[in-house]
């Protein structure tokens, strides 16, 4: 615990302290504002079916795709009237949480 070279400047409010940082702190993710045009998976799972293709005009509430997770088939619905710009997954894909699935635009 005495290696001087591991010390870094660490700001808390208005003061900067010399200290070490934990692995957890070093690996934390900076916050990003969500983009309403990006449909991301809210749970990890498998893409069972894709109901749209690029260029489709889709109404609010219509199903874009089915994401199966924990034995439940979740309909991923269009959040507003718009167009499908890009589909980033294919049927059968196993995806983690927060994976970009579809890009849409109004």
């Amino acid at each position: 615990m005495s290696d001087k070279e591991e010390l870094v400047g660490f700001r808390v409010h208005t003061m900067e302290y010399q200290t070490k940082v934990t692995k957890k702190y070093a690996n934390r993710k900076a916050w990003q504002a969500p983009d309403p045009n990006e449909i991301k998976s809210y749970i990890p799972g498998t893409i069972i079916k894709i109901n749209v293709k690029v260029g489709d005009k889709v109404k609010e509430g219509e199903s874009l795709l089915v994401l199966e997770a924990m034995k439940m088939q979740n309909q991923i619905a269009m959040p507003f009237d718009g167009t499908v710009k890009e589909i980033c997954v294919k049927e059968g894909d196993k995806i983690p949480k927060n994976e970009l699935m579809v890009v849409i635009e109004e």
């Binding site: 615990m1 005495s2 010390l7 660490f10 808390v12 409010h13 208005t14 003061m15 900067e16 302290y17 010399q18 200290t19 070490k20 940082v21 934990t22 692995k23 957890k24 702190y25 934390r28 993710k29 900076a30 916050w31 990890p44 799972g45 997770a69 924990m70 196993k94 995806i95 983690p96």
Partner: protein
């Protein structure tokens, strides 16, 4: 049969059952680098003190060909013994018998020794080494787990409960250790998780090894589930024995008193810390400089290292220490360190162990990740635990005590019995820079040279407020003391707190921000 024959028959029966799963299974256990369940119990307990019960218990399962299988002791050993003379109840799952899987009778044995421990008010040590529920016994094994969890909960805060993870402990099984006071893990041997790597791969496509998912290091460093990390089983057993010397047998007793010893450190305590509040030091050096024989027994050393918790002795009496660690994250409170401290404070309070808090911290950790992770409710646990605790509570402010941190770290306002501060203490609503920027904003903005004015005002604020005397003038601090006086004044404070008795309103229980 003659009497002699009866005795020989008993010996033969015992010998057979004591072999657990038999030679081959034992060879396998050894090949995995593990001791057998029986060896473990004997290594933890005082020599010749172990007495076993339920040796001849057998399972009653009939389905899936189980009726033809004999499982010695049903895969678990239970009994009583002593550690340095302290009575102990113990169970150890035997991985050599059907993978230590938990069936109905296996669970019955565990709950029997748990009931015994609670009734006799003695510590319970559980050694976990099990593949999980015995699938052939279906819902009976689930019932078994539930009955164990119930007892863990009822015994919580009454008798010390210690869990030792010496093999797999997966699925529902993990919740018994999680409900106990202290969890011990050993590198490369302990594995704890709710869902194993196999299922995670099938369902999510994520590949992760058992070690990376729930190995000893993960639980000691990242999750905080484990309190003690060891490199070998033997080292782990030494840790358990040492812990037992610091804690009482139950919540109506005090920890055993040891002969008083002077600290090993003979230098000046103030030489251990830099005077510039921005420079770090290891607060454990200060604790070791104060406690008997320099012997500080740290808990959760690798988890949330920005706060330090553990036991030491002052004139032979066990004390729980809570200290901000300026060496890591400047000693801030965050979600993890709040959890860690709050739980320890509640442990000490349950088991009549006075708490000494050493404070040097700049406040709560700022950041979207912390706010979103719930630093409000986690941080509140520290306030709750300190306020609720009725054991003697003494605080020494070493350097910084800013803002919410000042309140949280066992302040007078949360019921501290004694508040001491070193002359280096800075007790203020925030650091001098921040405070001066707000209070003197007009003067700074209007100045010809704002930077010069800012420096001037920061200096002015620092001289006036960044010290212990403003708080001392209000009586929030009882004494400003020289660092070298710390041990003696703590000894005195403890001496006069011996008969502390405060009574809170009757209630079933509070609702802490879990």
């Amino acid at each position: 049969m003659s009497l002699k024959k009866h005795i020989l028959d008993l010996r033969k029966r015992k010998e057979k059952v004591e072999m657990g799963g038999g030679e081959k299974a034992i060879e396998k256990q050894v090949a995995m680098g593990k001791m057998t369940a029986r060896e473990r119990i004997l290594a933890i307990l005082d020599q010749d003190s172990f007495t076993e019960y339920d040796l001849f218990v057998e399972h009653e399962a009939k389905d899936f060909g189980m009726d033809k299988k004999q499982l010695h002791g049903d895969g678990v050993i239970i009994g009583t013994g002593t550690i340095y003379g302290a009575p102990i109840c113990v169970f150890a799952q035997d991985f050599t018998v059907a993978g230590g899987s938990l069936g109905l009778m296996h669970a019955r044995k565990i709950t029997k020794i748990m009931d015994h421990a609670l009734k006799m008010r003695v510590p319970l040590i559980g050694i976990n080494d099990s593949g999980g529920a015995r699938i052939q016994e279906g819902v009976n094994s689930l019932a078994g787990y539930g009955e164990i969890f119930y007892r863990n909960t009822i015994a919580s805060g009454v008798i010390p409960q210690i869990s030792v993870i010496l093999g797999p402990c997966a699925g529902g099984a993990v919740y018994s250790p999680a409900l106990t006071d202290f969890v011990f893990v050993v590198d490369n041997i302990s594995k704890m998780f709710i869902t194993g790597p196999g299922v995670i791969k099938t369902v999510l496509g994520e590949e992760i090894s058992m070690e990376e998912l729930g190995g000893a290091r993960v639980h000691a460093e990242t999750t905080g589930n484990a309190h003690f990390f060891a490199n070998s089983e033997q080292e782990c057993f030494e840790q358990i024995k040492k812990l037992i010397t610091f804690i009482p047998w139950n919540n109506s007793k005090k920890a055993k008193e040891f002969p008083p010893k002077e600290p090993l450190y003979k230098g000046n305590i103030e030489d251990l810390i830099p005077s510039d509040p921005r420079n770090p030091y290891d607060v454990r050096d200060v604790i070791k400089g104060i406690v008997d024989d320099g012997d500080f027994f740290e808990i959760q050393e690798l988890f949330a290292a920005n706060i330090v918790i553990g036991f030491g002795r002052l004139n032979g009496q066990t004390i729980g220490f809570v200290a901000n660690q300026p060496m890591v994250l400047a000693g801030v409170l965050d979600c993890d360190s709040s959890d860690k401290a709050a739980r320890f404070i509640r442990y000490c309070d349950s088991f009549n162990i006075p708490i000494v808090t050493l404070e040097d911290m700049p406040g709560y950790l700022p950041g979207a990740d912390q706010e979103h992770a719930g630093v409000i409710r986690h941080g509140a646990k520290v306030l709750y635990a300190y306020s609720e605790a009725t054991v003697p509570k003494i605080t020494v402010i070493l350097r910084k005590a800013y803002g919410g941190g000042y309140i949280a770290m066992n302040s007078r306002h949360l019921g501290a019995d004694f508040m001491f501060a070193w002359p280096t203490a800075e007790i203020a609503v925030m650091g001098p820079e921040g405070a001066a920027n707000i209070i003197f904003k007009k003067e700074i903005d209007a100045a010809e040279n704002p930077e010069e004015m800012r420096k001037l005002k920061v200096q002015e604020y620092r001289e006036k407020f960044a010290n212990p005397y403003v708080a001392a003038a209000k009586g929030y601090i009882d004494s400003v003391i020289e660092p070298n006086e710390t041990r003696n004044i703590l000894l005195h404070a403890l001496e006069v707190s011996e008969g502390k008795d405060i009574v809170h309103p009757d209630k079933k229980h509070g609702i802490p921000p879990f």
